[in-house]
Each structure stands twice: as C-alpha cells, then as structure tokens.
Amino acid sequence: MNNLSVDHLTGIKDLTREDIELIFKTADSFKEVINRPIKKVPSLRDLTIANIFFENSTRTRLSFELAEKRLSADTVNFSASSSSVKKGETLIDTVNNILAMKVDMVVMRHPNPGAALFLSKKVKARVINAGDGTHEHPTQALLDAFSIRERLGSVEGKKVVIVGDILHSRVALSNIYCLQKLGAEVMVCGPTTLIPKYIGDLGVKVSHNLREALEWCDVANMLRIQLERQDIKYFPSLREYTMMFGLNKEILDGLSKEIIIMHPGPINRGVEISSDVADSKQSIILDQVENGVAVRMAVIYLLAAKIER
C-alpha cells in the first residue's frame, strides 16, 4: 500500500484505515524534514496550489501555506473578503478562473457543508477540504490523531473524549471518523443542546458530565464554542457553560490518572479551557500545530502523486 485510495481529500469518511496510516508514515518523514536547517524538499516544484478561503482562518491557512512552500510548490492565496465573490460570482466560476491560470490543486475552506465534495466533482484539479461549514475538517482530524499517536504510541484502543460544541463542529465529526477508523473509542461531552440528537448512531458514547467523561478518557479534545454559527441561544450564558464544561486545573488534578489535553484552536482562554491547563505539561496543543504542517505536507504530497503529467 503506497497510494491513497482517493483522488481528493474531502472528508475522513472516504478514507480507509490504510490511507490514514500511509499519511502518518509519510508525515513522520516530513516531520524530520521540517526540523532540518533547510526545511524544504523539491518534490512539488512543478506544481501550483491555490488556497481559497471563503471563511476566516489563521492557523489552517498558514499551516497549509507553509506545507506547500516546504514542498517547493508555488502558492496563490485568495480570501473571499477581497474577491469577486462579493460581486456575485459563483463558486465554480471563481475556481475555474483560478484553474485557468494553471493551478493543479485547490485547498478550500467554505461555510457550506459539502462545498469541497461539490467542487471535486466539477473542476479539474485535486481538492483538499480545509473545512466545509459544520461538516468536516479532515486535516485537523489527521493531525489530532497523529499527535495522539506521537504522544501515546498508538491510537488503537485509546479513549478520546471530545468536549464542547459538537453540534457546530466539523472538527468533532472528522475526529470521530478518524479515531474510530484507527480503533479508538470516542465519547462526546457537552450540554444537551449542543450534542446532535442521533450522534449515538455513529457509535460514540455521550456524556453530559465533564468530570465523568474525563475520568473515562485517555485524551480530552476541548472544542471552542462557535458563537458565530449559533443562530439561537443554546445555553444561558458563557459563564454557566464554563462552570459546567470548562476544564480547569482543579478538575484535572482531581482525576485518578493523567490525561492528555488537546485543542484545535483558536482557544478562548477562561471559557472552555483555563490558561494553566492550556499551558500545562499535559497539553499538546502546540505539538498539534507543529504536526499540522507535517501532516498537511504528507496529504499534499500523496495527492500530488496522482496528478497526471
């Protein structure tokens, strides 16, 4: 097995376990590369990649751009706020215009679920989903699982709890698929209003008690409350949410075992996670960011291999 089973990365749902393991094995090598004095390899010097972001992003866009540059690809960046989208151009027209300038791969973030899959069927370029609405964020799930594997040796058999706004989180859905494919057990934890009603059908456990969930798990992935996606009030106040589901040092120290803390960022310090926990030794938040570049390099490299010459 040294080829991905997919031509585009639109979601973790389409990947096989072998695909994920191949990505991790390749990412191991790229992690070594990005720690060299010269952090660059020439593999993709004949390719051009467009980063198209219809939604705000700091970490993901920077991480993708660094990954592309360290593979020697040419990159162009495009964000919706400064573009013709504002003038009424459709998604396909926008992307086809970019592709007409000879672009081989598109990394796209879009507020609508399914936008990446739609695009992959309509345009002649490899598509990587950098987040589509509340649907999936595959590279985030890959780097999360990669970070767990790095810290704990493997993902198989580990227990991971995802805490917070599960309803609006693409990170949660991609993580559930990815962790389950790698043989981990997943629990989601949060207020009833922020847990989708039928999430149990995905084979995950549900808890509404943070302490109980943390006592069960090996790894806790704390999510941000996505106020920008919440059209109605899902809980009385942020203060109340923090009291019920915020992770602080006191809860962490009260557990019978040491667990690992993750966060996909951006962190709202003092809301879902307190500062002392985010900066503690148990937190691997910054490792996640470092691994993000290596994992994205692996994804781009493996998809680029499928581009015809």
Binding site: N2, T26, S29, V41, P42, L71, Y301, A304, A305
Partner: protein, 182 residues
C-alpha cells in the same frame, strides 16, 4: 532469470575490508570525516564499514542514514509515490568531510538526489562517494565514485542485487541476467 554470483561471502568481506583501509589511507583518523549511507540499501554497507573502521582505529565513527525520496527526479513519473525511509543524521556535517555510501552505482540519479538531500543539513567541506558495486557504462549523469568495491559491466536488462545476512540471510552480490531463449 539466470543468477551469477559476483561476490561470495568471503570476497564481499575482503572487499569491505579493503574499502575500509582505502578510507583510512585518505582520511587518517577520521577526526573530521563522517559516513552517510543512502536509504534503503546503502545503510548496510555503512554498518559493515563502521565496524571494520572502528576495530582498526579503536574509536567511534560517526554514521548517519539519509533518505532521498523527496529529492528524486521521478516524482509523478512513477505509478505510485515512493514511501520514504528514516533519515537519521544526529551530528553536524558543517565543514566535515562526508563520504556518501551506497550499494550499487548505476544511472547516478540516486546519488544526484542524495547530494541535494545531504546539502540541506549544512555545508560539508568535501563530499566523496563510496559504492560497493559500480555498473560501468550505464550512467545518465556525470557522476563517478571515489571508492569502488567492484566494477561490473552490465546491460540494462540485467539487475545487480547486493544481499546481506541481516535481510536476505547471506552476504553476497548477485547478477541476474535474462536467459537468452526468453
């Protein structure tokens, strides 16, 4: 495929010993010289050379493994992407004399990639090439070795395989030739 043994275990051992002595001739006590083996097969040659050199010189020789997958010139020209092996160079090569080591020198393309990969770790004062088998008259690039175990004349249809006790069960070098009536 017809098999012909080019080097049997005894000869292979003698050749490696001779290469070790040749290295000492030009690098004295190895005070600023390091060995870097190319993945995946060059590292076996390094392992052997290291043990001979260390037993002769009585000191530790710095050795590393270098993977060149991402530096190859045939990415996207192959059916499938190549899966990288481990790179492990845990010392500085800045101003060192580096001996690149591989098992077979054929088209020279691997060595070209190896040079590119090596230079991302710093600026060595000198780079030399040691190969166990040199397949003469088959180069695509102007690359020659400084130390050669054995030179063989081969055709494109033939294949040279260097086998080791650790991986294949015995130390030997085999030439595979297509049978004439095939």
């Amino acid at each position: 495929m017809e098999k012909q043994i080019i080097l049997n275990p005894t000869h292979l051992d003698l050749t490696l010993k001779r290469l070790s002595h040749e290295l000492i001739e030009s690098h004295n006590d190895f005070s600023d010289t390091v060995l870097v083996g190319l993945q995946p097969r060059g590292i076996h040659v390094v392992t052997r050379l290291k043990s001979y050199l260390e037993s002769i010189l009585g000191k530790e020789i710095q050795c590393g493994n270098l993977d060149i997958t991402f530096y190859r010139d045939d990415f996207r020209r192959r059916e499938k992407p190549m899966i990288p092996s481990i790179t492990n160079i845990d010392f500085s090569i800045e101003n060192k004399r580096v001996i690149l080591v591989d098992d077979v020198l054929y088209t020279g393309r691997t060595i070209r990639s190896g040079l590119d990969a090596l230079l991302t770790f710093g600026r060595p004062s000198k780079v030399e090439l040691l190969v166990l088998i040199d397949r003469r008259y088959s180069r695509d690039l102007p690359i020659q070795a400084d130390y050669i175990g054995k030179t063989v004349d081969t055709q494109i249809s033939e294949r040279v395989s260097v086998e080791w006790k650790e991986t294949e069960g015995a130390d030997k070098v085999v030439l595979f030739t297509k049978e004439s009536n095939e």
